[in-house]
């Protein structure tokens, strides 16, 4: 079964038409409106055609639960999150399925501070959703809709406080917007600050993205990487549709592994941060530990998924943490109030290039080489506990972590076997310092395959 609808602590995500329906969106938004304290709710969406439909339902539900709605229109998810803070809203909803294909859509929920709901909060939201008992108000108390243009400019103000555009505008940068909201932001950056972002796939598109909106080395090579050398650009960046993730390619047109973003940003931020913790998940590169150690930092590893990261963030004081993120190119920085933000990440990397006076390829080359192999095996959920137990017995010499499936670490290599949250498949991630960990990967794959 390929799942077309997922209702979980992370919100609501599904394929429009055969999974995620208007009724789901209205019910979930009604639950959210019931869950929130009184006050306005900020709303925004990515360009998916179905966003127009979900928007109507979400507005109706929030209004019916007594919340005024501040609609920012088509904006990136970070813009929504910052706006929640700015107007001191009760919360916010982002309509968009970020890196998923166009037929998907999702509702992401934010609390009063513009941060994703933690697990306790989202469990409460689900407990309101499931019995479908919502706190609808009477007709005199219904919320009103207000449309708010110009929120992107307020977001650019925040970026301008953090980054020196006098410096950054020297870089010629090619950006693949994948028909998403990054185009709106970067176009405005060019106008306002004279930046030189050369945009491709910059037209906003509702159903036919130029390519799969994932941020990884493969999607980089589709259209962006080959343009970099001819355009004599200093770097190339690729964003997902709602601009919370980023991937990059060097001035030589080489795609860089998405795993590099977080260690590079850790390298940049740890020396200038009082907080020394980096929060990431169990599947992310071990280069991070090496980089963190260099700056007296340490890495907190949590299960894969945004929810675990949010819970980990909530477990520390904000000033203890320098940044958090995952190997997918989604990174949140203390400076930006721990909001996943691909554009802020890109600007940080450009700042590094400026400070180090190094071409991107040299900067990448200065890090130790780690090689990662990823794979997946379809597996009946029934066999998973046995698989994980026996797999751990199979590798008794490593250090085991069972917080999310099974991860086993050795001095220079590790593997992580975990179950996908969206499909009935087991993912295998295997990494080694230096050469490709082919033998280790093959033996794990072989072992897992026996349970399939």
């Amino acid at each position: 079964m390929r799942r077309a609808l997922r209702i979980s602590n992370a919100g609501l995500r599904g394929v429009i038409g055969n999974g995620l329906t208007a009724t789901h969106a209205i019910d979930f938004a009604s639950a959210f409106g019931t869950f929130l304290e009184p006050g306005p709710v900020v709303l925004g969406r990515d360009p998916r055609a179905s966003g127009a439909m979900l928007r109507e339902g979400v507005i109706a539900a929030l209004s019916a639960t007594g919340h005024d709605v501040v609609d920012l229109g088509m904006v990136s998810t970070p813009v929504i999150q910052h706006a929640i803070r700015r107007i001191e809203a009760a919360g916010g909803i982002s309509i968009g399925a970020s890196h998923n294909a166009a037929e998907w859509n999702a509702l992401k929920f934010f609390g009063r501070n513009g941060i994703y709901l933690n697990t306790a909060e989202s469990s409460e939201l689900l407990d309101i959703y499931h019995p479908r008992k919502y706190a609808f108000v009477t007709y005199e108390a219904l919320g009103r809709l207000r449309e708010e243009a110009g929120e992107i400019d307020r977001y650019l103000d925040l970026l301008a406080d953090a980054y020196d555009f006098d410096v950054l505008r020297r870089f010629r940068v090619v950006v693949d917007c994948c028909n998403g909201t990054s185009a709106l932001i970067l176009r405005r950056l060019n106008e306002r600050h004279g930046c030189r972002f050369v945009l491709i796939n910059e037209h906003i598109e509702g159903s036919q993205f130029a390519h799969e909106p994932a941020t990884n080395a493969r999607t980089l090579t589709l259209q962006l990487a080959p343009l970099i050398v001819p355009l004599e650009a200093h770097a190339g960046f690729l964003f997902d549709v709602d601009s919370d993730r980023v991937a990059l390619a060097t001035e030589r047109g080489d795609a860089v592994s998405e795993e590099m973003i977080l260690p590079m940003l850790a390298d940049h931020l740890l020396p200038r941060s009082a907080g020394k913790l980096v929060i990431t998940n169990l599947s992310t590169t071990a280069l991070l530990e090496e980089v963190a150690a260099r700056h007296g930092g340490s890495v907190v590893r949590v299960p894969v998924g945004r929810q675990a990261a949010m819970d980990a963030l909530a477990a520390y004081r904000p000033e203890q943490v320098a940044l958090a993120g995952e190997g997918t190119g989604a990174v949140m920085m203390a400076r930006f109030r721990f909001i996943y933000d691909g554009i802020a990440s890109m600007l940080a990397i450009l700042t590094m290039m400026h400070e180090r006076r190094q071409p991107l390829s040299e900067m990448i080359g200065s890090y130790s080489r780690y090689s990662m192999i990823k794979g997946e095996v379809p597996l009946n959920s029934r066999h998973i506990p046995a698989l994980l137990m026996r797999l751990q017995r199979e590798f008794p010499d490593g250090e085991a972590n069972v917080a999310d499936g099974l991860r086993i670490d050795w001095a220079d290599r590790w593997f992580h076997v975990r179950v996908s949250q969206t499909e009935p498949i087991v993912r295998i991630i295997c990494e080694q310092r230096g050469e490709t960990p082919r033998a280790l990967y093959d033996s794990v794959l072989d072992f897992v395959g026996r349970f399939a």
Binding site: G17, M53, E56, G57, S63, Y139
Partner: protein
Amino acid sequence: MSAPREHNLKIGVSGIRGVVGEFLTPALAAAFAQAFGTYVGAGRVVVGRDTRPSGEMIQHAVCCGLLAAGCEVVDVGIVPTPTIQIYVEHIGARGGIAVTASHNPPEYNALKLFNHEGLFFNHYERSELIDLYHQSDFYHAANEEIRPLASDYEAPGRLHLDRVLSQVNAARIRERRFRAALDSVNGAGSLLSIAFLRDRLNCDLHAIAVDPTKPFPRVAEPRPDTLGDLAELVRRERREIGFAQDPDADRLAIVDETGRVLDNDDVLALVMEAVLARQPGDVVVNLTTSSVIDDVAARYNCRVWRTPVGEANVVERMREVNAVIGGEGSNGGIIFPRVQLCRDSYTGMAFLLDRMAATGCSVSQLAALLPRYSRRLGKIPFEHGRLGTLMRAVEDAFPGGAVDRTDGLKIAMAAGWVHVRASNTEPILRLAVESRREQDTEEMFSRLMSLAG
């Protein structure tokens, strides 16, 4: 007898109506709209609303459901219901939805549903739709089938007024520069009625309750007991006529130059006379409408058809017999097919002004020319299960009359008639009695009420 149950939500063949909040929820409105979109198919659907505070919320839910069914939604904003119906037909849309609870109090809202001709669904279409809804048998459009929301806030109103004015001698009305008054209950007609009376018909207009952002300042239904402010305005400002609309501007009530609110049956009769004088033809009214209609029709040798109560019933019969005019006296509905087969307050205003301009008569003079009937309307609650007994008792109490059972029970006698029917929306019996003489009417009415005990 127990108090009648509150009917806070009603989903039935007339659509969906309820108290907004706990009962009429956004999910319900969206699901119903998605059933509608599934039924009419992926094409253009026009959506508009009246001014009640919940209209915006319900309209968003409706748009959500329609978009989810793959429809191309054209939002026409706050407009009269007949404007939506005309626009649906004009642009060749698949259908339309008016978010309005018409004359109901502000805590209510409802959806009125129209087919591709801008007409209320007929009985069979309605039951098919309701089955789709109950089965949750919706079309779910894929992402690439979902269309962006479109809007048109200018054309619909203009189109509506153009159609109405093409049916009367507008130049003659403009010349007269009537001193008119208007009470739009701050409803969907507020702005369009000013444009109509002041700008298009050159009336010297005094308007009250024409701010669509404000709540209803009076009971939403325009009746003699709710139009005190308008009557007062007519007298104080020496107006020749006063017009009153309901929140979605399909119903019309009239105040004459003395400040008297005309009986709705008489308003229909006057408009009918204005129409028949121009173009004789068949007339359709419901069973409970006054006999004054038969008398007026007889003056022009026109045939009168009677139908069960309900706009859809009247409209269906009008189509069948190709009637020139129809309506429902009791509720101020005037239906003139050359504009559109729907209740339309603007048609009523135009024909009355046209008649006044043509004859030089005042409203009270025109009304005085109508035959006088004495009418009593009433309602009584009943318990389920007692309806049959009650109806038989009514029949026994009025022996020898001609019995019509098309809608409840109507008994026509030499002196007059009585009509008893169960309401479509509430557990009450509606009573109507009419005769030439007030004492006969009173006698028959008290005989009826005593049965209800």
